[in-house]
């Protein structure tokens, strides 16, 4: 008596329905629903479309010159990791002729930044790109943990934002690089446009969507190749390419007002999936009225390229914001330091743990 083995349901090939096919090639099963326009794409089409769009952005805006040395602001997060990978890929594929360097800033937050820098070092090995790390300690003689122990946790984002922004310029200047590339994406740009309108930041309104920011007072220029790329697509791309990135949020609280604008945009995306690109298009078309000159009154105009009197970097005022913050911090520093004192290390984690305690 012959025995017939039952058919294996796990390995049975599933038939692909027509409605499940990719909307571009119509010949593969769609895996994702593209956030930009809600079209269903397969993996190959999505990766090709995503890469080519960024290439088109780079070419249309003339971001790179042949022979140029470019520093990628690398933090280990998804944006900078995908940016480094993408620039190397497109440089090899389309031959921009640029030299890519990874540039990292160590803020000195034990338990957070040391882990993300480990990710950047792994990226250095994976992509074969040189890596340079500058720390707050080297540039300003303060770590973020020390700043938090002095100034408190609430204001830490202000210090970190000001110092980090200047650190990239300082680091690039030391390396002799005149072009810094950051991973700001379309969501960040749209958020900035909305927040400038909601907060009445008129001075920044016109330039909030510029893809290259440059000033005559600084040899360093910055560009954002991901200007038209959605954050969700960056995450999807990193997932499909199996990129190694660090995704833990900073241990300090996010800015509350920016959070409300972000939630508003999430609701809008449910109704109008292209709203992020639409906001950027609006941002590019905002123009301010010419200011009426008051006869007799001396009008204080914004001077492009103004430099700080102390450190020589870009500043809207006579003394830049970083120097003013440093001056305030120095007044709070102890006159005599205990040797091998490690009480400030990991202050952020300790304070966060203390906040969660309840009695």
């Amino acid at each position: 008596m012959s025995f017939t083995a039952p058919s294996d349901p796990v390995n049975k090939p599933t038939k692909v329905k027509v409605s499940q096919l990719c909307e571009l090639c119509h010949s593969r099963k769609a895996l994702i629903r593209r956030p930009k326009n809600l079209s269903k794409l397969c993996k190959q089409c999505f990766c090709l479309v995503f890469e080519t769009e960024i290439h088109n952005t780079i070419v249309a805006n003339n971001l790179f010159q042949r022979g140029e040395k470019v520093a990628v602001g690398a933090s280990g997060g998804k944006d900078s990791t995908v940016l480094a990978h993408m620039l190397k890929l497109l440089n090899d594929r389309y031959d921009y002729g640029i030299e890519i360097v990874l540039l990292s800033i160590d803020e000195g937050i034990i338990g957070y930044r040391d882990d993300s820098l480990a990710t950047v070092k792994r990226n250095q090995q994976q992509y074969g790109l040189p890596l340079e790390i500058f720390s707050f300690k080297d540039l300003y003689d303060w770590t973020m943990d020390e700043i938090v122990s002095v100034a408190g946790i609430r204001n830490s984002c202000t210090y970190c934002g000001v110092f980090r922004r200047q650190s990239l310029d300082r680091g690039a200047a030391k390396l002799g690089i005149s072009h810094v590339v950051t991973g700001h994406n379309a969501d960040d740009m749209a958020e900035t446009v909305l927040m400038n309108i909601l907060r009445g930041d008129v001075a920044r309104l016109e330039k909030s969507t510029a893809i290259i920011t440059q000033s005559s007072g600084s040899p360093i220029k910055r560009s954002k190749p991901f200007k038209y790329s959605y954050q969700k697509e960056i995450v999807l791309y990193a997932h499909y390419m199996k990129l190694d990135y660090f995704s833990t949020e900073c241990t300090y609280a996010p800015e509350a007002f920016r959070g409300t604008a972000r939630e508003y945009m999430k609701n809008l995306e449910a109704v109008r999936p292209s709203c992020i690109i639409d906001i950027i298009q609006s941002g590019e078309n905002l123009a301010l009225k010419a200011k009426k000159s008051n006869a007799g009154k001396r009008v204080v105009k914004f001077v492009d390229g103004n430099r700080c009197a102390r450190c020589g970097y870009l500043s809207s005022n006579n003394i830049c914001k970083a120097c003013m913050l440093l001056e305030g911090l120095e007044k709070s520093r102890a006159q005599v330091a205990i040797e091998n004192d490690t009480s400030a290390d990991g202050a952020a984690l300790k304070l966060r743990a203390l906040e969660k305690l309840s009695f």
Partner: protein, 493 residues
């Protein structure tokens, strides 16, 4: 709690609290009226428009003002009430003369025509008859929303090319067999509530502006509050129409239609008032009876003190069913407690904007929303979007592609491609179309590309439209109100 604006010797109990100040009913009404009147007198043009000018010139020199009234909107009703009080005051002070006359214009649909008839009848009896006994200060007009389609002699079919977002259109004359209706457009083409709301808003605004243009009005008074204006501004930014903010808010320049200069300006008298203040005014003056959605209005947030303790029972809509304006309104309400000056900041910021520099070779106008076009949206969008697929490789993939072609999805796509090719052919044959002619603004391009079925839409050509002929005679039921109104006026005289 006492009113902070009453004289100290005779303080009334406070009933309203707004902007951290307490009012009684009378002082609050005066506060709101003063805000509106201040806006109506804000520059030389409007002062000459609204004031009684001496010496009296020949007959017919009184200014004509158009007041679009919506029976589902509190702002326009409150504005009408304040204008009525202003006119009453002018007749008492100037021996029965006024500086201007008011034409009230209502756009109706077949769904709400009976309710509007009832509400307008009571509004006429209560608010307008008294002044019209002195002289004909108020006129009432009705427009069917379908006039937008009936009065155009040509329509265009717009279609978006899937690959490069280029816009193609084909024109044809209107005959009795292919007259469009609003219901048909919204039901057949629109995929979601947001696109329906957008198209209705475009249609109503254009009907009102065309009416003002054809009949020689000096100004249109819109009932937008500060909150409503901020909502519209943010919504324009979200829809990619940020370049239209300056034109929308402009009260200093004369309006333009189809590149023709108009003789009226757009005025927003309630610009300095929050919507909660307007809702409070509405309740104090008992104006809710004239609205279509009375029950809904009574639940809206206001700043009446007696109402503050009551919890809001408003039902929560799903986000997907909301329009962009509704999401923005909800956002403003949510952040109002923590960041209270957001609304005024948005409006103040938008007031500082101007029209951007145009990169177009020749001036262009959107064929749907009639706004000015400053950049080519197809080129802009094509630059940042890739629509070409990864090539088909394996045998299984070829089999699936063949299967897709034979399916309904493939047939629907084939129909779209055939329509696209047909219109492309028509466009290239037509001598009217010049190369580089841009037909849609960015916002409307995105509307067609994402929210309209099969990316094509039939729309009337606005420059072939004539509103005057049929404005008040189309609907017999509503014209009876007008006849009744006029008969009463003649009888009294």
């Amino acid at each position: 709690m006492e009113c902070q604006r009453c004289p100290a010797s005779a303080r009334n109990p406070a009933t309203v609290e707004s902007r951290k100040e307490k009012f009684c009913d009378e002082c609050f009404i005066k506060f709101v009226s003063t805000k509106q009147r201040k806006q109506m007198m804000k520059d030389e043009y409007f002062r000459n428009l609204f004031k009684v000018i001496y010496p009296f010139e020949k007959e017919g020199s009184v200014s004509k003002i158009l007041l679009p009234l919506s029976h589902s909107d509190s702002g326009s009703l409150v504005m009408l009430d304040i204008v009525h009080d202003l006119l009453l005051e002018q007749t008492k002070q100037h021996n029965n003369r006024t500086g201007f006359t008011v034409d009230v214009l209502t756009v109706f649909t077949e769904e709400n025509v009976s309710v509007i008839k009832e509400r307008m009848e009571s509004l006429i009896n209560e608010k307008m008859s008294q002044l019209n006994k002195i002289s004909n200060i108020f006129n009432v007009h009705f427009i069917d929303v379908n006039e937008f389609f009936n009065n155009a002699s040509e329509v265009s079919t717009f279609i978006i090319d899937n690959e490069n977002f280029e816009i193609f259109s084909k024109s044809k004359s209107v005959d009795d067999s292919n007259i469009l209706t609003l219901k048909e457009i919204l039901g057949k083409y629109c995929l979601n509530n947001s696109s329906r709301s957008d198209l209705i808003s475009i249609i109503k605004t254009q009907l009102i502006k065309h009416f003002a243009y054809e009949n020689g009005y000096n100004a249109i008074m819109w009932g937008h509050s500060m909150t409503k204006l901020s909502e519209v501004i943010i919504s324009l930014v979200v829809k990619g129409k940020g370049s239209q903010i300056a034109t929308f808010l402009d009260s200093e320049s004369f309006d333009t239609l189809n590149n023709k200069p108009c003789k009226y300006k757009n005025l927003y008298p309630m610009k300095d008032l929050l919507s909660v203040e307007i809702e409070s005014f509405l309740q104090i003056r008992n104006l809710a009876q004239f609205l279509i959605n009375v029950e809904e209005t009574n639940v809206k947030p206001n700043c009446l003190i007696a109402r503050k303790s009551l919890p809001s029972l408003g039902q929560q809509k799903l986000v997907k069913n909301m329009t962009i304006n509704e999401i923005t309104n909800k956002y403003f309400q949510d952040i109002q407690n923590d960041y209270s000056n957001i609304i005024s900041t948005v409006l103040r910021t938008a007031d500082k904007l101007t029209q951007p520099k145009s990169s177009m070779a020749k001036p262009s106008q959107c064929q749907i929303c009639q706004s000015k076009i400053y950049t080519n949206p197809s080129n802009w969008l094509n630059r940042i979007t890739v629509t070409s697929p990864y090539p088909v490789e394996t045998t299984e993939e070829k089999y699936l592609f063949k299967q897709w072609q034979d399916s309904k999805l493939g047939q629907s796509h084939t129909h779209y491609v055939e329509l696209l090719n047909e219109i492309k052919q028509g466009a290239s044959n037509s001598l009217d179309v010049e190369d580089g002619d841009v037909k849609l603004c960015y916002g409307c391009l995105i509307l067609l590309n994402t929210s309209i079925k099969d990316k094509n839409l039939v729309w009337p050509k606005v420059d072939t439209m004539d509103i005057t002929a049929n404005a008040t005679n189309k609907n017999k039921e509503l014209s009876q109100i007008l006849d009744q109104f006029e008969i009463n006026s003649d009888g009294e005289e």
